[in-house]
Amino acid sequence: MGSPTVSEFQAFDFRTKFGSRYFPSPIFTASGCAGSGKELSQFFDLDELGAVVTKSISVKPRSGRPTPRMAETPSGMLNSIGLQGPGIDQFLEIDIPWLQSNGARVIVSISGETVEEYASLARKLRGINSLHGIEVNISCPNVENRGLVFACDPVASRAVIEAVRRNISGDYPIIAKLSPDVTDIVSIANEVVAAGADGLALINTVLGMVIDVDAKRPKLAGITGGLSGPAIRPIAVRAIYQVHKALPQIPILGMGGVTNGRDALEMIFAGASGVSVGTATFGNPSAVIKVKRELLEGLRSRGFNSLSEAIGVAHV
């Protein structure tokens, strides 16, 4: 089966919406899995994507964690990058103009160590109206202090989203990225939506660990890392299903081990309005395009005429 033609794309309403912004396709990159966008542009046109979600950016440059940063696991991998990045100023000067001049719709992912840092990042972004939204990453597991994982605490989660919302205009879409490493993800979702989030990104990586049995010590220099890949997909589907059931009006960007169209269908049927492809890109540079093509085929072959009518259909 070849790629769908342009007219086939047009016949099917593939659009999706987060907050005030529309996207022509529901397949996005996942934060931290698409580099600066330049790396993938060698393999496909970035305007093929719903949006590029950039690697979470912080106020100041970050070296990230030492190596080894990676351990492959069955159907997955652990990473302990530690949010390596150039800091918001260089990012706004170099990365954003490049992405936009290459036709990408951009959702900027931000990460802070304090509520004030999130507020400061939001202030830096509020003047750039051409962005398609902010992903507020409150759930990166690769921070020195696990107490800093805001998304594990409803009060802290709320405080961060309130601070971002206060510093950015009301129609600027905010997507809060949550951690699956909580007892009750619905209660966290309720808090961030009450605080002004327009959408939710589900899920970040799952905290994990691998021990090198020959060296008799943790494989990663960072000791623990975030587990991603197909191994965590059922956890993501569960989180999407639970949150969509509780908050059916809130759009969800689903992610966690999506490798093909079937996986994306699963997330759409669980309640996601869009799907991000992350770790699959490491194994296949054009994975995002493959998922997009196969999702469209999968929806059409099941008799759907639009993406929106497929969202959440697994709920009985």
Binding site: S63, T67, M70, I81, Q84, F282, P285
Partner: protein, 285 residues
């Protein structure tokens, strides 16, 4: 700036797969991918087949490439089957296809004038050095080579590879071939005797660090192909970083797949595994 602007992703056919000592020498029909491949570049290959639980690509230094022949463009690899992924690759039969991305990464810098070069390889790390030797020889360089391994069977030194080498020296830690010892034991005499002006190396990081010490001691330029575990090979995952000093002397965590694998040995902050070197840009306060 374009990143990997020559890279292609393609399903490529295995043309040949032969056991050579501890390794497999494999030839792939890669079409246009070969035309831009240079010594030092690598390819990234999907392993395990469609239902595999191995989700990450495996990176292999290009042993040789040719863009003309009966099968069109070819790329040759030397595969050491010491992990599940490389073992799977080494078991592919002729006519099977694998998904390959390449050529990737930086290449060895070639001097514009004929110079005296010393190529140093550890284990199957010798693979990219033979293609480099051919290029250097064609430029009129004197090319000496030192290959080391723990035992004789782990040295990769095929006959056809030796044609472009003036003098080949082998070292093994157990003395089963060549000089008993390590590559760095024989390097100083060769550097002095042949008035070596540039050293190229490829192998494990500990060996590269030791080679760099010898190079700095002798005040000789050193280009090395660094090795750090990669998830993607195309610059998006940020796992394969190596601390490097930039031209302003600032240490940055650089991707060995994009800014490397071939780097200037004097710029690497050696011995930084498991710690962030002091003064690194953006280091935790």
């Amino acid at each position: 700036m374009n990143i990997n602007s020559r890279a292609i992703q393609d399903s490529v056919e295995v043309l040949s797969n032969k056991k050579v000592g501890a390794y497999n020498h494999m030839v792939f029909a890669v079409g246009d991918m070969a035309s831009h491949a240079k010594p030092g570049n690598f390819v990234a290959i999907s392993v395990g087949g469609p239902s595999s639980s191995l989700i990450l690509r495996r990176a292999f230094a290009i042993y040789r490439s040719s863009n003309r022949g009966a099968y069109g463009g070819t790329i040759e690899l030397v595969v050491a089957a010491h992990g599940t992924g490389s073992k799977w690759l080494s078991e592919r039969s002729v006519h099977e296809r694998v998904d390959m991305v390449g050529p990737l990464g930086t290449a060895f810098g070639i001097p514009t004038e004929p110079v005296n070069a010393l190529l140093v390889g550890g284990g199957y790390g010798s693979a990219p050095l033979f293609g480099l030797a051919e290029v250097l020889k064609a430029r009129g360089c004197r090319v000496d080579m030192v290959l080391g391994a723990s035992v004789a069977g782990k040295i990769y030194a095929p006959l056809e590879g030796k044609r472009s080498v003036n003098v080949m020296t082998l070292t093994t830690e157990d003395g089963s071939a060549g000089v008993k010892g390590r590559v760095t034991d024989v390097m100083p005499q060769i550097i002095e005797r042949n008035q070596v002006e540039i050293i190229y190396s490829c192998g494990p990081m500990a060996m590269l660090e030791a080679v760099n010490q010898v190079a700095e001691g002798a005040n000789v330029l050193h280009q090395c192909a660094v090795e750090e575990s990669m998830a993607c090979g195309i610059g998006v995952c940020m796992t394969c970083v190596v601390p490097m000093r930039d031209s302003a002397g600032v240490i940055k965590m650089q991707r060995s797949c994009i800014e490397g694998p071939v780097v200037d040995g004097s710029q690497v902050v050696w011995g930084s595994e498991r710690k962030i070197a002091q003064g690194t840009w953006g280091a935790p306060q």
